[in-house]
């Protein structure tokens, strides 16, 4: 384990950024955090997490897939893919780090999504252990350990500095590039910080939330629950919850007429929208109740059923703090769990 003191963190950023593009969470004027491309002098955010999740790096809100050009009777199809450049995301929390695995299980299973894979292959994920969880955090419900955040390299803050631990081959390469800037770590000091965080985690208001009542085998029980009407009654169908969610993975593919050709792009979609999965015959979910149910059934029932028990939520708490009417997965779980 190697360590760098807090004063030298920006030197480290400068070093990384001299080799490849580096993204770090920074504070905006409104004090909310967002990932920004690092430029010398930027300060790492002290916020626990970013408003938009880190999934944007691999699954951006919009991306162009192909272009079509019409000349006479021929249509030229242009593959506009290019090899992505290497980049580093620094400061990813354990919840978001787990979300990449969930996205992988969808985008990297056959047929592989090459756009996603391209970015994934070129990204190095440097995670950051949490020391001040929020009241909305419930990652531990899904077996995530915020004191051991994973990714290619884990970083552990201890108040006066940061310790680094490589977890993968990519992580080792990353560490080799910066090894001359690091000094020997202090495992005892770190153990104390982790112990302290573990104690806080036990005291989180959502610490006792359990997944026992959910999973593939509960499909019909939950699908036909009478609770959905009440839970969904004031949902305004905005889709904010799906857009801030690190694991939401739905997209739409559309053609945009540029006047002299067609741009085919994909963009995030949301099951909360009235035209989600709309087909020639119409829409399969015509009421907000059905659309609302889809979101939570997917996270808590369909996803684990299709992906070896893995739930489609990482407990990051974003939907808890961002839903305009404060309805969210925790309230749904509490209403549906076995009493």
């Amino acid at each position: 384990m190697f360590r760098i003191s807090a004063e030298k963190l920006n030197d480290l950023f400068d070093r990384i950024a001299s080799k490849q593009t580096l993204y770090i969470p920074v504070d905006r004027e409104d004090k909310a955090a967002e990932y920004k491309k690092y430029e010398s002098g930027m300060t790492l955010s002290s916020a626990l997490n970013t408003v938009r999740s880190a999934k944007d790096f691999f699954f951006p809100q919009t991306e162009n897939l192909a272009e079509f050009r019409l000349s006479g009777k021929t249509i030229e199809v242009k593959d506009i893919r290019s090899e992505h450049e290497d980049f580093v995301i620094f400061g990813v929390r354990a919840c978001d780090a787990r979300s990449f695995g969930i996205l992988d299980s969808v985008f990297l299973s056959e047929p592989v999504d090459t756009f996603y894979k391209n970015r994934r292959d070129h990204g190095t994920i440097v995670t950051m252990a949490c020391t001040r969880p929020e009241e909305t955090c419930f990652c531990t419900t899904f077996g995530i350990n915020p004191t051991m955040p994973g990714g290619d390299v884990s970083v552990f803050p201890d108040g006066t500095g940061y310790s680094f631990l490589a977890n993968t081959e990519k992580g080792k390469e990353f560490m080799a590039e910066i090894s001359d800037m690091l000094e020997e770590g202090n495992p005892a000091q770190l153990a104390k910080v982790q112990e302290n965080t573990r104690n806080i985690l036990k005291r989180l208001p959502l610490a006792n939330l359990k997944t026992d009542s959910f999973g593939g085998e509960r499909l019909m029980k939950h699908f036909s629950s009478e609770k959905w009407a009440e839970l969904s009654e004031s949902c305004i169908g905005c889709g904010t919850c799906t857009f801030v969610c690190p694991t939401c993975q739905c997209y739409d593919i559309r053609d945009f007429d540029t006047g002299n050709g067609i741009k085919r792009f994909r963009c995030w979609d949301s099951c909360m929208y009235s035209d989600f999965t709309k087909m020639a015959h119409g829409n399969s979910r015509n009421s907000q109740l059905e659309r609302f149910r889809q979101r939570f059934m997917h996270k808590l029932v369909y996803h684990p059923s299709n992906h070896e028990g893995e739930f489609g939520c990482v407990g990051c708490g974003r939907c808890l703090s961002k839903c305009p009417i404060s309805m969210n997965i925790v309230k749904v779980m509490k209403a549906l769990e076995d009493k």
Binding site: Q61, L206, F243, P324
Partner: protein, 323 residues
């Protein structure tokens, strides 16, 4: 206040005046209250809440609720009554099916403002003589009440209820608010500065549609942005200016009908000050056509849908556009 509301709601349910009550429901924390419909006295006692965080405007829900069987009781803050009135004017709410109790408004608190102070892990917030005592996972914090007041309440235009069947508490007055100050500041910028301001703000937009969906003036059955036949139904921007267009078009669609309830800015996950766009329209209507407040009554004609020989000429655009 909460106790008086629950008591009155139970009476009105019991004597059959209404068969449902629209209010807010308690959540996991002190601040995550959800608009909800209550049908029994038990539900009201167990879950009804009205506190410093019950900000959500209930009026838009009454479009649907007033079309259901029986009469519903709705608790409306002063700002919500303007939205309610405007919706009556647009024939969206069936008045006979709603029993309105006017309740005092805020100032309500905005959790984001508390969190922006670096206070995290919030377990409880108490107002003690206008100092907030905030229990957190990391100890007790305090901050002045007024620094946590939500944007919409800080710029409150009126404490008067423009429509109600009865009131709990006293009615207030239309206020001399400073709500156009920031608009003025924007007007006094150079066009480049203004452009940069809006590009900076609107580029944060994730196009989640929360602002549109919460807006009591946005009640179209099928919004142009959702209608494949409109040609602009994008779920995302085809180019980098499109988010800006979405907001500009939306501001035009609600011009003259926006009551300045503040919901759009409240719900925006990216804290974009959307209300400033709408306020610019309100300010312009006031100065070009005379004072007009959408939702203040149900009979007056909105200057934008009315014609008068004194109306300003389209050339006003050029005259005012000169720097």
């Amino acid at each position: 206040m909460q106790e008086a509301m629950i008591k009155r709601a139970k009476e009105l349910l019991a004597d059959g005046t209404v068969n449902r009550v629209m209010g807010w429901k308690k959540g996991e924390f002190v601040y995550d209250t959800t608009p909800a419909v209550f049908e029994t006295a038990e539900e009201l006692e167990k879950e009804f809440v009205c506190n410093d965080f019950t900000q959500a405007n209930l009026s838009k829900y009454l479009i649907k609720e007033s079309r259901k069987e029986g009469k519903i009781l709705a608790f409306l803050k002063p700002c919500d009554t303007y939205s309610f009135n405007q919706l009556l004017k647009e024939h969206r709410i069936i008045r006979e099916n709603v029993y309105v109790i006017g309740i005092p408004g805020g100032p309500k608190l905005d959790m984001e403002k508390i969190k922006a102070k670096g206070i995290s892990g919030i377990l409880d917030v108490k107002n003690e003589n206008f100092t907030l005592k905030i229990e957190t996972l990391y100890g007790t914090e305090t901050m002045p009440f007024y620094e946590a007041v939500s944007g919409k309440c800080a710029d409150c235009k009126s404490k008067k209820h423009v429509v109600y069947d009865e009131l709990i508490g006293e009615d207030g007055d239309v206020l001399a608010s400073r709500r156009f100050d920031m608009v003025e500041k924007l007007e006094n910028m150079t066009s480049q500065e203004r452009y940069d301001f809006w590009r900076g703000e609107l580029s944060k937009c994730i196009r989640c549609n929360a602002c549109r969906n919460v807006c009591p003036a946005c009640t179209c059955e099928n919004c142009v942005f959702d209608n494949p036949k409109s040609g602009i139904d994008q779920k995302a921007a085809a180019d980098s200016f499109e988010e800006n267009m979405f907001h500009i078009i939306r501001a035009f669609h609600v011009a003259g009908r926006c009551t300045d309830c503040g919901e759009c800015s409240r719900v925006c996950p990216q804290n974009i000050p959307l209300h400033l766009l709408n306020r610019k329209f309100i300010k312009d209507i006031n100065s070009l056509y005379g004072e007009y407040q959408a939702g203040a009554d149900t009979t007056s004609k909105c200057p934008l849908t009315d014609y008068d020989t004194d109306d300003c000429e389209p050339s006003i655009v050029h005259e005012r556009g000169v720097e």
